[in-house]
């Protein structure tokens, strides 16, 4: 992996720059650090920053931009005739990349010569067989245009990497040179270094924004692509979900949304009463030792990974419910995967979420309101029911909304516990599926990302993102508004 070595080289240059800069500053001060404007390390850091930061920045930009350029050139090399019916340019390009990787690996293993990899012609020699013999995964017969493109792809990437290494090291050296040139005893090194560090801090803080932008862009572009292949009215209006990668699939989002809401509803029916009563008891009744034991114990439930709840739903709750409501019991349930199975597990997961949020909110109700109520002769439970809960209501609603958003976005529990069939049904003992579970099933496996059946996952992701974001913003708005009343 030459990139790692490149980073190591740049870092080594930075260290060298640090030492050189420090020595040079000391020299210019005649060996007496009191004559320097800043501490000697700042002169070293100045040079090191100038060596490392622009070089690494350039490298990152280059690494992102190079595949773009190479792809566009290679894509231009493939004539339209080489793109078979039912296939797409993207698929052919993926094949080109695979062939190029295969050639690379085969050369690395010594199965074929570099000469052969560069110049072989598919119509004269059987490249596919040679590659397969070398243990490379080649899915289809490599045709001449694909092979030509793959060879071009290899060459361009190789030269691109070489130029990049050269330019990056050159920039690092120039940085050292620049830093050293300006180093003398009157140079305000600390101010410069502190300015650059501040810039780095700002950059780090902006990564959060970049992540959001990345999420939104990756969802939007693929969603637009999906709606170009599949009508939006069908997506939002159709009542059936039956994807088939062969084509002719119906991709209606409504059954998935129904499954999502139904499972979340079951989860909330479990979590909200238990969580709320637990919070009320812990904050109003419980003695100190009980509180200090029960609260962390309940919060352990929140620290358990969701895959554990998924397995718990599939292998413990499911069989348990099946023995009670299955064919041997009341006969309502036909398999262990069902809405209640997933909903129950999700409800258990959400209990600590609801309880600790409500606990905070109940504790924020001022003591004076309790005292006033007690003074009028109310019992504790009357105070809670008629004074505290109404006062805390907006916050509790906010907590429930946050829990809902959690439930909607939960994946592992529904993937393992809820089933795979998309249904519009009212029976909670039937298997249903959710938006998240379908995102997983449409995007895992070797599907090509150009078909509507795979792209629909991005549209589903977009739906999910907007729903959870909306819920969160709304919940935070309610919670904030409430808090202002008492602060």
């Amino acid at each position: 992996m030459p990139v790692i070595w490149l980073i190591v080289i740049v870092l080594a240059l930075a260290v060298a720059g640090f030492i050189l800069g420090r020595t040079r500053a000391m020299q210019s001060a005649g060996g007496d650090r009191r004559h320097l404007h800043s501490l000697p390390t700042y002169y070293g850091s100045n040079v090191a920053l100038k060596a490392a930061v622009p070089a690494i920045l350039l490298m990152v930009v280059w690494l992102v931009a190079q595949p773009f350029y190479v792809n566009s050139v290679v894509s231009g090399m493939i004539p339209d005739s080489a793109v078979a019916d039912g296939s797409s340019r993207g698929l052919v390009l993926a094949e080109v990349r695979r062939a190029a990787d295969g050639l690379d690996n085969a050369v690395a293993l010594g199965a074929i010569s570099e000469e052969f990899a560069r110049n072989a012609r598919a119509d004269f020699t059987d490249v596919t067989t040679r590659l397969k013999e070398a243990g490379q995964i080649v899915t289809t017969q490599i045709t001449q245009p694909v092979l030509r493109a793959a060879q071009k792809y290899r060459v361009m990437n190789a030269t691109g990497n070489m130029i990049m290494s050269g330019v990056v090291i050159l920039i690092a050296l120039l940085g050292i040179f620049w830093g050293l040139r300006e180093t003398n005893k009157d140079f305000r090194a600390r101010n410069v270094v502190e300015k650059s560090v501040l810039a780095l801090l700002i950059a780090a803080a902006s990564i959060a924004v970049l992540t959001t932008v990345g999420i939104v862009l990756s969802l939007i572009f693929n969603t637009i692509e999906f709606f170009r292949l599949y009508p939006a009215s069908e997506f939002f209006g159709s009542l059936t979900w039956s994807p088939s990668f062969g084509g002719g699939s119906e991709l209606g989002v409504l059954p998935l949304l129904w499954g999502t809401f139904y499972i979340s509803l079951v989860a909330l029916i479990v979590a909200v009463p238990i969580g709320l009563f637990a919070a009320v008891y812990l904050s109003e009744y419980a003695s100190k030792p009980v509180r200090s034991f029960a609260k962390p114990m309940l919060e352990v439930l929140a620290g358990i990974p969701t895959i554990v709840y998924g397995l718990f739903a599939l292998l413990t709750i499911g069989p348990m419910l099946l023995s009670a409501f299955g064919p041997d019991g009341t006969g309502w349930m036909s398999g262990q995967r069902a809405v209640v199975t997933a909903g129950l597990a999700m409800g258990i997961m959400l209990i600590p979420f609801v309880s600790s949020l409500s606990d905070d909110i109940i504790n924020a109700v001022p003591q004076a309101m309790r005292d006033g109520s007690y003074g009028l002769g109310a019992t504790k439970s009357e105070t809670i029911k008629q004074v505290i809960l109404p006062a805390a209501l907006p916050g509790i609603v906010g907590a429930v909304l946050l829990a809902t958003s959690r439930a909607i976005g939960e994946t592992m529990i529904v993937v393992l516990g809820a089933g795979a069939a998309a249904r519009l049904s009212l029976n909670p003992f039937e298997a249903m599926t959710t938006v998240t579970a379908k995102i997983v099933s449409q995007l895992t496996g070797d599907s090509d990302f150009a078909s509507p059946e795979a792209l629909v996952a991005f549209a589903l992701g977009m739906t999910l993102f907007i729903m959870t974001l909306g819920l969160n913003v709304f919940a935070l708005y309610i919670v904030r508004k409430y808090r202002e009343q008492y602060d």
């Binding site: 595949p67 600390r190 992540t211 009563f277 008891y281 114990m297 309940l298 895959i307 292998l315 504790k380």
Partner: protein, 443 residues
């Protein structure tokens, strides 16, 4: 004019006393008791779920840590070896020798049970092939007694662990009731017994057909490399971002945008980060699929908000007097932060980081999308760089893979994997608590 009502005799009020409860008070007190009971019931239900969860994890997971082995001391003479190699069905000859030896041994132990070659093969696999492989590789072991430790077949293993029961067993080509008699006899003679399964902790995943050989070791390594990526990216970036937002950020639009983004990212479902990873790192940047590097990058983005929120809290907890004192003796703003505030906030930052890492360690959904599930991690990655870029699995992804195979024997492995995962999480959380207890400073 007299008021008539003044003369009308008042109905006598019932005699009441504070010492006796009237009906209304009784009702109110009962409702008070009821309400309290609801609270207790809610907490008890929560704790009950926790106990059930812990119980089912331990009960279903512990069998994964034991395995059933067949201990046989067996001697093959040079003459027998030559004779077997000369035959047409070589492995059959080996099985014959083995069965004769086993019969003799059982007779010596006074165990009466009849069996044939097929039964032996059902119980401990293709024994002839195993023996032949061993002796052709180690010809110097001929004529010497060798202690063989053979793994019993998965169904026999299940019989020992209660997965397979006599009452419900259907005779099949995998196992018959008569075989169970033989297994019982062998167990009595001490030939078949269960031991600790080191292979589960150190091994790699096996194929769909061999649940007995599946281990979680390779995916622990995968998770470890992923956590390295998360640690080395999210700690510096998270700390830098928090320092900026807490100490330097001016009140302007950009700061507001960053703040809103961080609090929103903390609430984005993890699967959406998986979509981001798939679209950006794999589709766009063509990083290798299933690589711990990509998993680490995705989990870094997911953990960053958590780390930033906790780091900001611990920076906020350092009193302003520290900053003022540093500025007072002539430090620059940057120096006061890096030389004084940051070291004092470090324990809190580390605690938050460890908790963020623990969260990332157990996260599964984003890993499904970047291809960590379709991949069967059959071996350890080679070398340090390979650890980051070679396809591998991670603990939660491995658990999901096993659970998705829909096989009782693999379910057992999945529960066992969960025990290992929870041990890691518990250790990390305990370290975080100890750090907090030991270094936390109240100002």
């Amino acid at each position: 004019m007299t008021d008539a009502s003044m003369d009308t005799p008042q109905p006598r009020r019932a005699k009441t006393s504070l010492m006796t409860e009237d009906a209304r008070t009784k009702k109110r007190n009962a409702s008070e008791k009821r309400f309290q009971a609801y609270g207790i019931a809610a907490i008890a239900t929560g704790l009950f779920f926790l106990v059930v969860l812990a119980f089912s994890i331990v009960r279903s997971g512990l069998p994964a840590f034991t395995t059933t082995v067949v201990d046989v001391n067996f001697t093959l003479t040079q003459a027998q070896f030559d004779e077997a190699e000369g035959q047409l069905f070589k492995t059959k000859a080996y099985s014959g020798y083995f069965i004769t030896a086993l019969q003799q041994k059982l007779e010596a132990e006074n165990v009466q049970v009849a069996f044939d070659e097929a039964a032996i093969e059902r119980i401990m696999g293709k024994i002839g092939g195993t023996l032949r492989e061993y002796y052709t590789a180690n010809p110097d072991q001929l004529d010497e007694e060798v202690a063989f430790k053979l793994n019993a077949a998965s169904r026999v293993d299940g019989y020992f662990k209660g997965r397979v029961q006599r009452e419900t067993l259907q005779d099949s080509r995998f196992l018959t009731l008569a075989d169970l008699d033989l297994v019982d006899a062998l167990a009595e003679a001490g030939i078949v017994h269960t031991t600790f399964n080191w292979g589960f902790i150190t091994g790699a995943d096996s194929g769909v057909d061999n649940p007995g050989g599946a281990g979680i070791g390779a995916s622990v390594v995968g998770s470890f490399f992923m956590m390295l990526v998360v640690l080395f990216l999210s700690l510096p970036i998270g700390v830098a971002a928090s320092i900026y937002l807490e100490e330097f950020a001016p009140q302007n639009r950009w700061t507001d945008i960053i703040e809103v983004n961080i609090s929103n990212l903390a609430a984005v479902p993890s699967i959406v980060f998986g979509i981001l990873g798939l679209a950006v790192f794999i589709q766009f940047m063509h990083l290798p699929q299933s690589a711990p590097l990509v998993g680490g990058l995705v989990l870094t983005l997911m953990t960053l908000p958590t780390i930033i929120i906790s780091t900001r809290a611990s920076l906020k907890a350092v009193p302003p007097s520290i900053r003022d004192a540093a500025l007072g003796v002539g430090a620059s703003k940057m120096q006061s932060v890096f030389h004084h505030v940051l070291p004092l906030a470090m324990p809190g930052i580390l605690t938050g980081t460890i908790i963020g890492l623990a969260q990332a360690l157990g996260e599964t959904a984003p890993l499904l999308l970047i291809g960590m599930v379709g991949f069967v991690a059959r071996g350890y990655p080679d070398g340090l760089i390979g650890g980051f870029t070679d396809p591998n699995s991670a603990m939660p992804a491995q658990i999901y893979t096993w659970a998705a195979r829909a096989d009782q024997a693999f379910y057992e492995k999945a529960w066992g994997g969960i025990i290992i995962l929870l041990i890691f999480l518990l250790t990390m959380n305990i370290i975080a608590i100890i750090l907090r207890r030991r270094f936390e400073r109240r100002w």
